[in-house]
Symmetry: C2
Subunit: 304 residues, 2 copies
């Protein structure tokens, strides 16, 4: 699978409504799942959206507010009941472990799989996870308590072999991996066949940035510069800008401003305050600065 | 309001499915709300069912399994954000407080209302709460860890004054409360008017019993004898009776057996295992022993 997509499980703010749930997303990169935040009812949303529990190995927690992590105990228990045995890695501020340890000791004493905590420093922009498919970096945000966004940078994929050409030159199968990685082919006669004649380049690796919760914060711009998709919180409309400032949240206009200044390709906003019955105002405000802004919604899947 | 009803917020067992959520119920007695258990997503269900957060003052926790209490941190936070200032009482095994205290200290440091824990002894049948409307008793159950059911016994209501009669005898208003409580009236001439001529009796007080989670356990029968409505767990069908025994749960047949032996008026079953796609078998099994058994479902409201 070559897919790189973001599933929106919940995009409301702290007060759940009949319209929106607490924050959670699942990034699907080549069929490996990476969860970002895990508000209450996340596991219920996974069921509804038919997201495979067994493919989830990493959970990234942005900060220690309940609407971003109260779904963890239930999800962790469920993974155990489903017979998981592979390690689950939880990346987050060290308080994530402080919060979960006593709960695990009380409710999950017989968990059939190990949990590893990867403590991240929310005030640092650094590589926090890397595997064959992706590099994940922290993005220091500006909120009421230490908070980190996450940058998912897909790794370069191998080039595609042009079978007609490798057949034509009778290239031995054992050499194909090196051809995929970009090497030229030297024929038995010593002729050099440039790699460009043997392969089609893979698609350019994509980037997804998740920034929630945060006040308007220009320091993130160099980190998220040019990403293919940016999720930026937009808790408030501009008429509530004072409230946004007070609570270290952003308005839809500020989210769009960040997106525009960072030259991102697409912007999706979320983390809506419960006060807005409908979201036309947020959409209109953002569109004025970043046309085509997407309103996140529960159940939505975005291709990066 | 004279109502006494039970709202089913969730009636699944530990694994949530697309069909059922973790356990929670809200008893509405004369417009005061008493929650029983609080699985994950309970607050979301309250929103959906338009149950008023402000009328909830008591939460009863049956036992320390996650599917009965993982919704507490989110609900407690939400009550704070909604500006609650009245006391919330949480009745449950003492481990309920051990579980919640560190979470409250981390996530709810500025909660605008007090929480009081009423530690109950799950192995005792005793009065655990009493107010003008109701007496609530614990019901010792038989589960893998200390577990208590709850008996809600409505208090006797005052008789209804027959206005034509109190007008006829020109009974002073200050005496009406004593008439409502059942006293006779002595006229200025010394004639005794029997209370039965002045009032119509109030309806008989009702009883609701909640028994989940539990193995088949005949010791509860004298406690729940004759209740108007019994909720009894029925996690399994009889074909999975071995699994029921092993996990200290009941089959639908066993739930019906208890209901029949206790001469309850109506039976509602729930806490269904995720393994059952549909519930015809459970219903059929229970009906054979207790005809008219009700299958609990999310969003259902039952009048006691």
């Amino acid at each position: 699978m070559e897919c790189f997509e973001v599933n929106i499980l919940g995009c409301g703010s702290a007060l759940p409504t009949t319209r929106h749930l607490a924050t959670s997303q699942v990034v699907n990169l080549r069929d490996k799942l990476y969860m970002i935040d895990c508000g209450e009812a996340t596991q219920v949303q996974m069921r509804r959206m038919r997201i495979k529990f067994s493919r989830l190995n990493h959970i990234f927690i942005s900060h220690m507010h309940g609407d971003h992590c109260f779904g963890l105990p239930g999800l962790i228990s469920t993974l155990g009941m489903l017979g998981r045995n592979g390690e689950l890695v939880i990346h987050g501020p060290k308080e994530t472990e402080t919060y979960l340890r006593p709960i695990l000791n009380t409710f999950c004493r017989e968990l059939p799989y190990p949990i590893r905590f990867n403590h991240i420093a929310p005030d640092q922009h650094e590589l926090i996870w890397e595997d064959r498919s992706v590099s994940v970096y922290s993005i220091p945000l500006k909120h009421r308590l230490p908070t980190s966004g996450f940058l998912f940078a897909e790794k370069a994929k191998e080039a595609h072999i042009i079978k007609e050409m490798t057949d034509f030159y009778q290239i031995p199968v054992r050499l194909l991996p090196s051809i995929k990685r970009g090497e030229d082919y030297i024929t038995p006669e010593g002729e050099r066949i440039p790699n460009g004649r043997l392969t089609r380049p893979a698609s350019t690796p994509k980037k997804y940035a998740y920034c929630s919760d945060t006040a308007y914060y220009e320091k993130i711009i160099p980190i998220i510069e040019g990403v293919d998709l940016l999720y930026h919180e937009a808790t408030f409309a501009s008429e509530d800008a004072a409230r946004a400032k007070e609570t270290f949240h952003s308005t839809a206009r500020q989210a769009a401003e960040i997106a525009r200044k960072a030259n991102v390709k697409r912007l999706v906003i979320g983390h809506y305050s419960a006060r807005y019955e409908e979201l036309h105002t947020l959409k209109k405000e953002a569109d004025e600065i970043f046309p085509g802004t997407i309103l996140a919604d529960e159940g939505m899947t975005l291709t990066v």
